[in-house]
């Protein structure tokens, strides 16, 4: 039996080897995230960042004599579809993936990649649990909720100093995770939230919740979740004369929230990765994005770009595309990227990542606070 298995393995390897050689001139990179569904905007950010990186890398001569080709997969931010996408990527013989985007999609997909030997770098999933399973091939080029939560909390404690604070979340892995982290931190500093409640993602009517916030005389609300719900909460709060200050994570920080909430989005506080598009060193790229009619200001555009830089720099340094060798190299080295100098820890997370608090404006723009 054992010999049979070994023979089979050898045959399989041989077949894979020839397959790899046959298509040695192009290297396919999977880009997985929502292209449809309510949070497709974020998928677009990741996509344009990754596609721009592929374009630039190819222009500079490709990697190890190969040209890169980006293949888009749509998981609609749905965990079930993410699993299907991951299986499809494995079946398509792709060994390098940028994605997924929503933490709840990345988590099940990453198990498949790890098992099937696919290198995955997410530019957007921030839930800490993704890298806590001891996976070897899973990395990320974005900060964790476990960094962002305490960062938001310290701003609340030191600058907002709310009298009666409420925390609302959308009961999803990302939103509730952040909300819980903020709650734990502010409680340590002696601020006891008067409310900690979940809403249902996709709901349209928040009037009952707003009346409750009003009754509790809440003056500050932290929201863990995405923009469609917070946009409606802001809009309905304004209509109902509820004037508390709101704060949210990068999941709410895109211009669509201003389309939904209109004037009610003025003064919203948002924690975001620092604006890499403002970095003087990235201005050539910003111009390249604008020339294609793409918006480089989204929080995941440059992390996706640098994920590809990390991947291809490792390929060049090791002269290999083997996910295992690349992962080993990534853990031991530092990378110069558009999002700064990146170093990974043993879990595959960034050693350092900084967030900034922004003041959101009704026209969808933002200015840094402090």
């Amino acid at each position: 039996m054992k010999t049979l298995k070994t023979t089979l393995k050898a045959v399989a390897l041989a077949v894979m080897g020839t397959a790899a050689m046959a298509q040695a001139d192009t290297l396919k990179i999977g880009i997985a995230g929502p292209a449809t569904g309510p949070v497709a905007q974020y998928g677009d950010m990741q996509k344009i960042g990754a596609m721009m990186a592929i374009e630039q890398i190819n222009k500079a001569g490709g990697v190890n004599g190969m040209e890169l080709e980006g293949v888009i997969y749509d998981d609609a931010c749905d965990p079930k579809q993410a699993v299907a996408v991951a299986n499809k990527i494995v079946n398509d013989g792709i060994q390098h993936v940028i994605g997924h985007l929503c933490s709840s999609s990345t988590e099940p997909a990453s198990d498949i990649y790890e098992e099937e030997g696919v290198l995955m770098i997410t530019a957007a999933s921030t839930s800490p649990t993704i890298t806590e399973k001891g996976h070897q091939l899973i990395f990320r080029t974005i900060g964790l909720d476990s960094l962002q939560g305490p960062f938001a909390a310290s701003y609340i404690i030191n600058s907002v100093k709310p009298q009666r604070m409420a925390i609302i979340h959308d009961k999803q892995q990302y939103g509730e995770g952040l909300a819980t982290s903020v709650k734990n931190e502010v409680e340590k500093a002696g601020i006891k939230p008067v409310m900690f409640e979940g809403v249902t993602a996709g709901d349209k009517d928040f009037s009952a919740l707003i009346a409750k916030l009003k009754k509790e005389n809440v003056d500050f609300v932290y929201y863990g979740g995405y923009h469609p719900e917070l946009g409606l909460i802001l809009r309905q709060s304004k209509e109902k004369g509820f004037g508390a200050k709101f704060m949210g994570p990068e999941g709410v920080g895109n211009p669509d929230i201003s389309k939904i909430a209109g004037e009610a989005s003025e003064g919203l506080l948002v924690t975001l990765p620092q604006s890499f598009d403002q970095d003087p060193e990235n201005q050539k790229l910003v111009a390249a994005f604008k020339a294609k009619g793409e918006d480089p200001t989204g929080p995941f555009v440059f992390p996706a770009y640098s994920a590809l830089q990390v991947m291809t720099d490792s390929m060049k340094a090791t002269g290999s595309v083997s996910p295992d060798e690349l992962a080993e190299y990534m853990r031991g080295n530092a990378f110069d990227t558009t999002t700064g100098k990146l170093e990974f820890d043993a879990k595959g997370d960034l050693k350092q990542f900084s967030f900034v608090v922004y003041n959101w404006h009704a026209d969808g723009s933002k200015t840094a606070v402090k």
Partner: protein, 308 residues
């Protein structure tokens, strides 16, 4: 008044508004069920299409420089009703009429298929993102001492209540007084017999779908304006809630749809008010189970007589 009672009043206002909208959509389910005994699962999608058309027309007229709000709303309403009714009519013609003689389950599957088709059709033609419209009708009344608790009741909420009430009253009159309405009731009692007596039942059934779709378009306009946001997925949840309301009130009964919608809306608002709001769907649907256990035909429904 004390804070507790003002708060209760506010939550009742909220609940009645949500409930009215459920009721408007629920009528479409209840009318179709009353006449041909099938559940038109694509109805929520018709509502969603009504919302989209409203948004497109309002945005279009505004960009053409038309500023008079009543005229804009009227034009949007008319176009939304025409478009939705066309969809309602076509859905019946294409997906249900050829299956009318067959097993109920087959028509149900066809309805679910239609719902998925329409949803994806809108995703592909309009994109899957939220489309937003700035508030058109803002303002309202507030009462109660601001230092205790200020109750707000917006013009938009009043409009939803009025529109729901007037539509319901008009429909009830139509069904009970007009010739067409009498034909409708005859169909609902015995479709085969009505046909034998020389009434064009196909026409009546088509008309039922058209009326249901027109009401869904009104709901689409009102809710579109109230929430200011629409995406291709709103029809599913709204349809599910409206269907629940119809079953709660007694499916097949028009006052039942109204009552069911209001009860469902108020239950949701009061649950969010006094318990963590995560529990609102749990409580609302537990209520449905309880009512169906003790009154299987719903609050105002007639006990079903097996048709031979």
């Amino acid at each position: 008044m004390t804070e507790t009672s003002l708060y209760l009043i506010q939550q009742l206002i909220n609940g009645l508004t949500i409930g009215s909208t459920y009721a408007l959509i629920a009528i479409g389910y209840t009318m179709v069920y009353g006449i041909i005994g099938m559940i038109n699962f694509a109805h929520g999608e018709i509502y969603m299409i009504g919302s989209y058309v409203t948004f497109i027309v309002i945005a279009g007229l505004m960009s053409m420089g038309l500023v008079s709000l009543p005229i804009v709303l009227l034009i949007a309403l008319i176009i939304a009703i025409i478009t939705s009714s066309t969809y309602g009519w076509t859905v019946e013609r294409v997906a249900y009429r050829p299956l009318r003689g067959s097993n109920r389950l087959i028509a149900l599957i066809s309805a679910i298929g239609m719902s998925i088709f329409l949803q994806n059709f809108v995703v592909l033609s309009q994109g899957s993102r939220d489309v937003a419209l700035p508030p058109q009708i803002s303002g309202g009344w507030t009462f109660g001492d601001p230092s205790v608790f200020e109750v707000s009741f917006s013009y938009m909420q009043l409009l939803i209540w009025l529109a729901t009430f007037l539509t319901m009253a008009g429909l009830t009159l139509f069904i009970s007084k007009s010739r067409m309405g009498r034909a409708c009731r005859a169909c609902s009692e015995d479709l085969g017999m009505t046909n034998l007596l020389g009434i064009n039942t196909n026409k009546i059934i088509s008309m039922t779908f058209v009326i249901g779709a027109a009401l869904a378009a009104i709901a689409g306009l009102l809710l579109g304006l109230y929430y200011g946001v629409v995406n291709p997925f709103v029809g599913f949840m709204a349809g599910l809630k409206a269907f629940t309301a119809a079953v709660l009130g007694g499916i097949g009964s028009i006052p039942g749809a109204m009552l069911g919608g209001l009860i469902l809306g108020v239950t949701e608002a009061l649950t969010s008010a006094y318990f963590p709001s995560e529990y609102k769907d749990v409580v609302a649907f537990s209520l449905l189970v309880l009512i169906l256990l003790f009154r299987p035909s719903g609050l105002l429904g007639k006990p079903e007589v097996e048709k031979v």
